[in-house]
Symmetry: C2
Subunit: 196 residues, 2 copies
DNA sequence: CTTTTAAAAGCGACCGGTCGTCTTTTATTC
DNA sequence: GAATAAAAGACGACCGGTCGCTTTTAAAAG
């Protein structure tokens, strides 16, 4: 019973993520979202406190698989720190190409649309980004110790720079409908800039 | 007479830009926008064909002063190509700090929200970005010829990379409410990466 | 130079719908 | 039969867009 509810809850989150990646926060209506997962409109507020809170949860929910995925690459002992990061981003690039550049990144989209307005969502974004960057940091630190990545810049700084540049590349991808911005990110920053 | 209409038109565009930077495309209502500039609702469609078309024009209108501004830095003979670009970005950083990180960049926000949905706006964004990057390119080429910027990467590639990274940094700025991401952009990419 | 008339522009009420939220009713469980 | 949870539907506000009335402007006629 409680499991079914939890399942439905996750369904709403997943569907919300998909819709918001396409149409943004204000462009995604609660009613429409609920219809697609067969949940009555009146039930929404038994799952979530408000649309804003729902979105904050969606952000957290969205980043999870990316964290897991990056982590699994980093834990792969066959890959050094840099190779893990590079493989990770290349797999994302491949996926985006396969899905015809639909969506991009929920974080980037929401940062632009409501990051400056909704405190709740900004906090969720901040936490998500920090988790993500901390993971990148670990990989970069390993790569530094392995002598692959330059040591004159801190992993923390590099991780944030990479994150930002990747977000920008995703936006550019949407506009050009091409993975070239993503490939440029890999070639210039991963292969060139941070490498020893 | 026709001048007054042109003036009003520009007022709507400017106000629309401000509102959209804060609340995005779907978060900005036509009626509310018009009220703030004392234009009757019914008149909107004598100025613009639709909200979508209006937004495309706003994009073009938005980028203009940035183009002019960057151009003036590039034309300043006291500054080499790189110094011009750096000064330009630093002046933007200063401005954003003074305005408490309100808004950020309309291009970035709209790329995320409607770049993948509205063809009209995507085209406007594409053109705007290309103009902007072409200008950056010129500065980078000069700097290359002056021996300040590395020559193993094409100006075109560097310009796009810088643009994307800057957009990402602006998003991050919004979330952190801090100019640190912008300073990181300058320090790591302008001062370090592209420099000889 | 008036006066009359036609065309254009300006404008607010209003269209059908949808928004996020909340209250009320219905169904379920103990 | 009381307590709890779920769903229905209503709420006022607002959405982008349109329609036709009113005012203004310009041209034509006297």
């Amino acid at each position: 019973m409680a499991n079914l509810k939890e399942f439905k809850r996750e369904q709403i989150l997943n569907q919300g993520i998909q819709l918001m990646m396409m149409h943004g926060y204000h462009g995604t209506g609660v009613k429409l979202l609920l219809d697609t997962v067969n949940v009555p409109k009146g039930s929404f507020y038994s799952y979530f406190e408000s649309k804003e809170n729902f979105t904050a949860e969606a952000i957290t929910h969205y980043i999870e698989p990316f964290i897991t995925r990056l982590q699994s690459y980093l834990n792969n002992s066959e890959l050094d720190g840099l190779a893990a990061i590079k493989t990770y981003f290349e797999s994302l690039t491949q996926e985006l190409e396969n899905s015809d550049f639909k969506g991009g990144c929920l974080l980037g989209d929401l940062m632009g649309e409501i990051g400056g307005v909704s405190d709740v969502c900004r906090q969720a974004l901040k936490t998500a980004i920090n988790q993500y960057c901390t993971l990148l940091e670990q990989g970069l630190l390993s790569a530094q110790q392995q002598g692959i990545v330059r040591t004159d810049i801190s992993p923390a700084t590099m991780a944030r720079l990479l994150f930002d540049a990747w977000q920008g590349a995703l936006l550019h991808m949407k506009i050009e409908q091409s993975i070239i911005p993503l490939q440029r990110f890999t070639a210039e920053l991963l292969d060139n800039y941070i490498t020893n």
